[in-house]
């Protein structure tokens, strides 16, 4: 498997950053950066990461099943992750989640038929003082009102949500 030149450069740097013989350390960061390019963790990607890090594929697989951001099936182009943990709950996070489900007809970790949008109810994303909060891919959205949520969902469906934190 080959990746974009930027990702190849990142991987080369990554593998060199751990002590000799400790390249297994690169498994998780390599998986998450590769997932962003490939779309999901495919069996070929597991083989490739195992080869590059010098471990058995099953050792990569056991990480894939452990870390919640790693996924075997592709999600939407825009993955909308709504936090409903305590600080967000107190400020209407649950209502946002229900609204997003109703607006899109999607549930937890479901993808729209056109592949544009997917939803996930997530645990604390570290935006507690600006609750309720959500993330679209890696972008944070703070102090989200129902109206702002509708705007975000509409932009995602149309494909013109502007990502800044990629």
């Amino acid at each position: 498997m080959t990746f974009s030149p930027q990702l190849e450069a990142r991987f080369a740097k990554m593998l060199a950053s751990y002590p000799p013989g400790r390249q297994r350390s690169a498994v998780v960061p390599m998986l998450i950066f590769a997932q962003d390019e490939v779309g999901s963790i495919t069996p070929e990607l597991v083989q490739e990461v195992a080869r590059r890090c010098g471990v058995q594929p099953v050792q990569v697989e056991e990480c894939v099943t452990y870390y919640s951001m790693l996924r075997k099936k592709p999600l939407g182009k825009y993955h909308v992750q709504i936090c409903t943990n305590i600080s967000c709950l107190l400020n209407g996070g649950e209502e946002l989640w229900k609204r997003a489900c109703a607006q899109t007809g999607l549930g937890h970790k479901q993808v729209s038929a056109d592949g544009m949008i997917s939803l996930e109810e997530v645990e604390c994303i570290g935006a507690c003082s600006w609750a309720p909060a959500l993330q679209v891919n890696y972008d944070f959205e703070h102090l989200v009102t129902p109206e702002r949520l509708d705007e975000i969902l509409a932009a995602c469906r149309k494909g013109d949500y502007v990502e800044k934190a990629k």
Partner: protein, 454 residues
Amino acid sequence: MFASNPPLFSNPPHPREVIMLSKRFRLPNSASIDTFLAHGGYQAFRKALEMSPDEIIAEVKTSNLRGRGGAGFPTGLKMSFVPRNSPKPKYIVVNADESEPGTCKDRLLMEYDPHSLLEGMLIAARAIDAKKGYIYIRGEYRYLIHILDRAIEEAYRHGYLGRNILGTGMDFDAYTHSGAGAYECGEESALLESLEGKRGVPRIKPPFPAQVGAFQCPTMLSNVETFCSIPYIVEMGGKAYADLGVEKAGGTKLTCLTGHLNKPGVYELPLGFPVDLLIHDVGGGIPGGRKLKAFIPGGSSCPVLTAKECEGLTMDYDAMAKRGTMLGSGGVVVMDESTDMVKVALRIMRFYQHESCGWCIPCREGTTWLRKMLQRFDEGLGRRHEIAMIGELAKNMLGRTFCALGDAAALPTISIVEKFYDEFERKLNEVSIPVPAPGPFPVLNDPPPLGAGS
């Protein structure tokens, strides 16, 4: 480059804030090395280069700096546990896996002042003779990885990282390492497992990371804010830093005000700050003039306090311990009188059930069982004997797991059941549920009631 808009800090700062860690936040282009150098950056490191490792550790001990990640362990003591004469390489590991519900302070330090983190790492590296440092950062904080990577690059270009730093013969390399979504990886030994490319499950302790840490080598592992505090200690001296706080807890702390508040936000406040002022002055009071019902001082892992227990309370480690809770990570959650505490208990338990790594059975099974039981109460289907059972079950998790996640799930639950018992009583199912006719196989009965019969 991504920047939070509007910014994450209060502007201007609240008059009660003591601006130290956040002193560069409000400068234009604050994350760049030019701004950092123009505002005293790397001066503490230069000073540390003139000091012996023992002198640095002594200053940190004098400063009464305690770990800002949640456990509050004295940082100087932790540094002194690293065996400097060990033939193995020593490592610095920064815990930037900020994921304790209610906590969002490390984001500011990394977004607005990434070089102060590097400076803290460099001083610590000088003290324990480390040659490499890793910043383990949660996967969700991707934009901060880019900011930190750029800061690291700048530091190499300016000779603050790499070989023969500033001509002193010191070598140090710093790297970022992305996680991929696991609260458990904020626990130090699980973080080290994750850093080694494995599932993030905790290690048995002792040995502690200071002796056997990253790659089985001596390691100083601390929170972002702890590392960021070290330059100020070196700069002003341990004594002056200690004087900012209270006895046995020096300095300032970034405090995240969340929940039912008019002005939630991240504020830099001295240790020992009164809770009453925290809520009603800095936090702007509770919306609609409603009354305080419950208070979490430092993230959802801390036992919950009632409004009465908050009277005369101050934000420091020992004062919190006296009231049976913890200062934790500084993630304050304020709940007003409209809050449904059963819902809160359920949401907290859902989190721990989701995040339990599954390594220790009392935690894995206990959180699932408790979540199911709290779910029934939330739906108004609770049974009287189960109120006591929630507390009993949670108490059976305490101290029976490798790491503190089991305790973190149990402690708030125990406190909510004990302090808000009447709310659970209001969720009892008073309608008797018809018992289905026994099928062809024996049917297991409900467990016998604990305490008074139902």
